[in-house]
Amino acid sequence: MDYQHSVIMDVGKCKGCTHCLNRCPTEAIRIRDGHAVINANRCIDCGECIRMCPHNAKKASFDKLASLPEGKYKIALPAPTLFGQFENLDDPDYLVEGLLKLGFDDVYEVACAAELVTEYTRRYLKQRGISLPVISSACPVVVRLVKLRFPTLSENLLPILPPVEIAGMLAKEKAKKEHPELKDEDIFTVFISPCPAKVSYVKNNLSGEKSNVDMVVSVSDVYFELLGVMRKTDLPNASSKTGMVGLSWASSGGEASSLLNDRYLAADGIENVIRVLEDIEIESHPNLTFVELNACAGGCVGGVMTVENPYICRVRLRNIKRYLPVSLNHPPQDDPERGVPDRYTMTEPEEYGHVSRYDESRKEAIRMMKDVNAVFATLPELDCGSCGSPTCRAFAEDVVRGTANYEDCIAVMRDKLREMEKGTKQ
C-alpha cells in the first residue's frame, strides 16, 4: 500500500506562489501547471507547508470531533501539549473533567504512557550491544526522515512504541477491565494531536501493526469545544494521573532530560534536526547516549495544529507541573524482566529507499552530478523559484532528470529574448 500523507492540497486555493516551495525541508514540492505538487516519496509530513501557506491551500487531514461514532465507549487520549493551551489553567484535573463533559467515557492521558516510555528507555539504554546514540522515535516526522534520508541510522532509533500508541493500548485494556461486557470493537480511542504527522502515523500503521488509536483529532479543534465546558467554579471529580515527567514531553528536551543521563542532545525545528542527523551519520559528535529530535520548533508545543504560541505554552505547562509529583506511572513492581516488554517494542514496518541519492549506482550518480553541475553553472543562482523548483540546484537536477524544461528559467529566457532582440535590430 502506498504511503498515506496527512497534508492535503486544495488546488483551487493554491496560487502557485513560492512560500511552501522555499520552506519544504526535503525539497518535496514543485510548482507545476500553476499550483504546488507534493512528491509523496519525499514528503515527511512535517507540516511546514501548512504553516507557511498564505492562502490556506494546504490542510492537515484530521478527523472532526463532531464525527465521533455513536454508541461506542469513547476514550480521549490528550497529548501533553493540550494542557498548555489554556489561560489560567493551573490544575490538569479541570481539563480531564472537561473532556468527560464533551462526551468521552474515559480519558487516558498520553503523558502517563510517556512516563512509562521514559522508564523503559532508561532500561533500554543499559542494555549492551545497542547502537549509540539512541534516537528518540516519538516524533513520527523524525522516524520517517531517518528511514528516508538516513537509513544507516535506522538501527539507532529507539525501538519502543511512541507514547500515543502505548496510551491507546493501555486505555483499551483499562476499559475492558472496568467494563468486561465491552467487546473490542465497542471501544474507540481518540488521540488529540498537536500535529498532522500523527495522523500519518495512525493511517500507515507505522508501529508495525494496526494502531491502537482509532481516530485523530486536532488540539485546535478540541480547544474551542473545551473552552465552552471548562468552568473553574465547578470542582472537578475527575483527576489527572500524570506527573511532571509526562507533561515535560511536550517541549523539546523534556523526554531527554527525564532519562537522568547527562549525555544527551535535544534539537528541535526540522532544519536543525536534519543538521544533527547529518553529523551523527558521519559520527562527528561527542559521546552521546541519547538524541531527542522534534520536527517542530519548541517540540510538540510548536505543532501546527496548536492554538497557543509554543513558548507561552511551555510557560503554562511549567506552572501546571510545579505542584505535580515527579512521575506517577511506573512499570509493574513484579515486572520479572529488566528489559523492555515485547508488547511495547516496535516491529520493523517497511523498508525505505535512500532518497537523497542520485542513483543506486555510484557510477551513474557521478555522471548525473556532472550533468547537474554543467546545467547549474549556466543558472543565475537567484533561487527565485519562478521555474517551479525550490533552488537553482534543484532545478538543474530536475532538468537532468527530465522533469523540468531548461527554458522554464526566466533568467535563461530573458537572455534568449535579448539575443533575439539584438538579432532583429541588426
Binding site: 551519520e281 558521519i282 559520527e283 562527528s284 537523497s356 557510477k363 550518480a365 557521478i366 552530478m369
Partner: protein, 147 residues
Amino acid sequence: MPKVTAVNNEILYYRFDVDGDNFTSAGEASVQTKRILRRVGFPPEAIKRVSIAMYEGEINMVIHASGGVAELYIEEDRVVIVLTDHGPGIENVELAMQEGYSTAPDNIRSLGFGAGMGLPNMKRYTDGMEIETKVGEGTKITMTVNV
C-alpha cells in the same frame, strides 16, 4: 539547454578556494564535500574519512599557509583530495607527522587548534597520503580514500 561535455566522464571534479584571511570559514570545503558525497551515494564511513581529512587539511592551510586550494576528484570507488598552498613549506616532514608536534602559534592554540594531530589524522583516515613540500615555496598533499 547547454551542451554537457566532459573531458573524462568518470571523474567528478571540484575546486575549493580556502580563504586564509578568514579563520571562521575554515571547514566549509569539508561541509560541501560531505553533501556532494552523500548525493553520489558513498557509504557514511567513507564520507566520514574524507570529510575529516579535508577538514584537517583546510585548517592546516589556514593556520600555516594563509590559505590555499583544495581539489576533489571523485571516482566510482575512490576519492582523491589534493591540497596545494604557497606557504612556508614543512621543514621536517617526519617530525611534523608525529602526534602532538605542532608549530601553530599561541593564538591559534588558544582556540583549541594546533594540537599536533592534523597531519597524523589525515594519514590515519585515508588510504594513502603523499606530501611534496619545499621550504619557502609551499606544500602539496595528495590523499586517497578507497571505497
